[in-house]
């Protein structure tokens, strides 16, 4: 039961934190609850499909289908997060003034919702498909009774959801003028972290050179499987021993999004002024 709880927690954590950040970034936007819920449900449905197709996906591309599929999913999420941040930066001045009521006055937030729906659905799909597969395998194994598995999975899910909720509630305490900076900053890190994962998947399938692996090793200081390491890995892409290529992807993604946000900010938003 404990192993089910731990694995489900680990898989849920990443999706829950992403959901927490996005829920915070869209505080006050009308209709967000519906979009975010739909994203989670679509993600769960997709997880079951992907989990049932694991073997077929894996066999694509001479056994590298899983890496390519995950890289593709993550790549789409990175693009969507970049788009969201640049879009929001365009409305930065208005957002900074009344961040908490942006939904009422600025349509930008509502327009970004379909993008965020996709981000959430794909984040849930990626983590959810592994969870579904694990639970399926556990139930096949036959050494565990069904109730123990369900209980364990429920505990893990609850703990992961609690972490996402805690992050969200923490966000709500941030002073209004910092709110936009913090949420868009975290989305920027999230996108860069995922880009670095894309690089790692392509290295694992031998489509990209690693360029020095690892570039550094800080696993003695903070290992990737420690609680803090796991949290930082999800939030900002901390890696104790990254390949050079991962660092290049990380830095390039962060730099490109920042550049896009800066360029977008210089042009005032054409969208209707408040009131």
């Amino acid at each position: 039961m404990i192993s089910a709880a731990i694995i489900v927690f680990r898989e849920t954590l990443e999706a829950a934190l992403i959901l927490g950040i996005i829920a915070a970034a869209t505080v006050g936007v009308t209709g967000r609850a519906r979009w975010l819920t739909a994203g989670v449900l679509a993600g769960i449905a997709g997880s079951l499909v992907v989990a049932s197709l694991t073997e077929q996906i894996a066999n694509l591309a001479e056994g590298m289908g899983q890496e390519l599929f995950n890289a593709l999913v993550l790549g789409v999420v990175v693009l969507m997060l970049a788009w969201h941040n640049i879009w929001m930066a365009r409305h930065g001045a208005t957002l900074a003034r009344d961040a908490r009521q942006l939904g009422r006055d600025v349509q930008a937030g509502a327009k970004a919702l379909p993008i965020l729906f996709v981000v959430i659905a794909l984040a849930v799909l990626r983590e959810g498909s592994e969870t579904a597969l694990f639970l399926y395998g556990m139930s096949l194994g036959g050494q565990h009774d069904a109730w123990a598995i369900v209980n364990g999975a429920g505990m893990g899910l609850a703990a992961g959801a609690a972490a996402g909720l805690a992050l969200y509630l923490g966000f709500l305490r941030i002073p209004t003028r910092w709110f936009f900076v913090v949420t868009s900053g975290l989305i920027l890190f999230l996108a860069a972290a995922m880009a670095s994962q894309v690089a790692n998947l392509l290295i694992q399938s031998d489509l990209l050179p690693s360029l020095a692996a690892p570039l550094w090793d800080t696993s003695g200081l903070l290992s990737n499987d420690s609680a803090v390491g796991l949290l930082l890995q999800t939030l900002v892409g901390y890696d104790a021993n990254p390949a050079g290529m991962q660092v290049i992807f990380y830095v390039a993604t962060a730099a490109l999004i920042l550049l896009g946000m800066r360029l977008a900010r210089q042009k005032p938003a054409p969208v209707g002024s408040p009131h």
Binding site: L60, A61, L68, V76, L133, G137, Q204, D206, S210, A213
Partner: protein
């Protein structure tokens, strides 16, 4: 399912690229254990690690030290490229059965 279609296309593109084969190393998963549990590989070069999951249940090959993670369906094989590695010990485990599925890659 356009994501799926796109990945099929991408897959076809990739499989047409010929790659010089690095040395192969084999590991078997049976009864949620790795055999051999200690895998010796040459240091300083890329390795094709082939993991044959003979169990009916899926397993996830994972190693923080090797920076690798891959789900392997029941009764199937997976290829994972690792290295070039510095001489040393690189533990790995099966995330879905961590209590029993433990192993280490030794590069020398």
């Amino acid at each position: 399912m356009s994501v799926f279609k796109a990945s099929v296309f991408f897959a076809a593109l990739v499989s047409s690229v010929a790659v010089a084969a690095p040395p192969e190393v084999h590991v078997v998963i049976k009864d949620h254990r790795f055999t051999p549990s200690e895998v010796k590989v040459p240091a300083g070069q890329k390795i094709r690690l082939i993991v044959d999951n003979q169990d009916a249940t899926p397993e996830e090959f994972e190693s923080h030290e090797l920076n690798r993670e891959k789900v392997i369906a029941g009764k199937s094989k997976a290829t994972i490229y690792i290295g070039p590695l510095e001489p040393g010990r690189y533990p790995f485990f099966g995330e879905f059965n961590e209590a029993t599925a433990q192993g280490v890659v030794v590069a020398e």
